[in-house]
Symmetry: C2
Subunit: 175 residues, 2 copies
DNA sequence: CGTCACATGTAAGCTGTTACATGATTAG
DNA sequence: CTAATCATGTAACAGCTTACATGTGACG
């Protein structure tokens, strides 16, 4: 259900073609809900059939620009409010940690170290991304992208936490 | 690929039937990689066909007890070491935050508040779980479940972070 | 004229969920 | 004897990935 919502959400902030949305998915939404080209296009067709979006313009290369309908907006708000049908979160990374007892201790240590470094890298990447988007200024709560930045902050905190955690596990391993 | 690994991982710590594994999934592994009954049974059959596990005993009600094979152990170690083919992480919860600009501000605040409370609840639940499993004592790195506890700690830190984050977003919203 | 970006679509296959279906054993 | 637990399986459907397939327009 969620890709449908993600697409609807992007269209709620302005009309766009599948191609446009695809790039937005690669950029801002990839961290929250990645989608492939194939999936996005077929989802757009389903949404159009269901009347949640509609083609509002046809451009050069068969380009179809979509616009959200009132029914689409209603569906979106219903979903944002409800928070029932969320699929469970799965993390292959944590599964791997769970099984780390199966490899030699030094390999386990190396793995945790790599996780910490990777998280550090993500913190740097997201910090730079934030910089480049805001230019260092604070984001106004009235700003349209306020919650986008809130999610970005979540990512920053998550990765900082992960780095700290990985190092704490290594420390306990070193007793 | 990952359910296959999760099942192999549990079998690596001792033989068990599908039914046994199912309960272990509901208990310890649900937070990392949930699985349904249906999926688990068919995965076990596939693993058996592939020679990664084998039936080592047949009990009362058609109960089949599985044991991991050498090939299974090899596959498991390969996967733990590799960390290439990880599926991307998706979070419906964060997607919802991303779209929170679409609902009235007070509803957004209420939602974030609910997220914080929920995270607090998880922290309590996991703290109690940890208590009940360790009896308050520290976990020895040599202990078989050391990494299980490491993952539990991750969950604790994650939820603590989430509660803090949600409250920080509310604060910024209140400007 | 060639290459790159634009632009959309289809098909096969795997993973995961829900629901249905069946039967054996044990405990009260 | 009857209800709960044990124990496994199948079928239909939705979501996602990979790969393939096709064609247009702009720029140099």
């Amino acid at each position: 259900m969620s890709l449908r919502i993600a697409a609807l959400g992007l269209l709620a902030e302005g009309s766009a073609s599948g191609y446009d949305l695809l790039k937005q998915f690669e950029k801002s939404m990839a961290n929250v809900w990645p989608a492939t080209q194939s999936q996005l296009y077929s989802e757009l067709n389903k949404l159009a059939v269901g009347g949640l979006i509609e083609v509002c313009a046809v451009g050069p290369r068969g380009r179809k620009e979509y616009r959200i309908t009132d029914a689409g907006r209603a569906e979106l708000q219903r979903w944002v409010a409800d928070r029932q049908d969320d699929p469970p979160v799965r993390s292959a990374g944590l599964l791997r940690v769970f099984l780390l007892g199966l490899v030699p201790p030094e390999q386990a240590r190396a793995h945790l170290h790599a996780m910490a470094e990777e998280a550090d890298g993500e913190v740097r990447r997201l910090t730079e991304l934030r910089e480049s988007l805001t230019g260092g200024r604070a984001v106004d709560p009235a700003d349209e992208s306020f919650f986008g930045f809130a999610v970005l902050d979540y990512g920053l905190r998550l990765n900082a936490m992960q780095a700290e955690w990985a190092r704490s596990v290594i420390d306990r391993l070193d007793d």
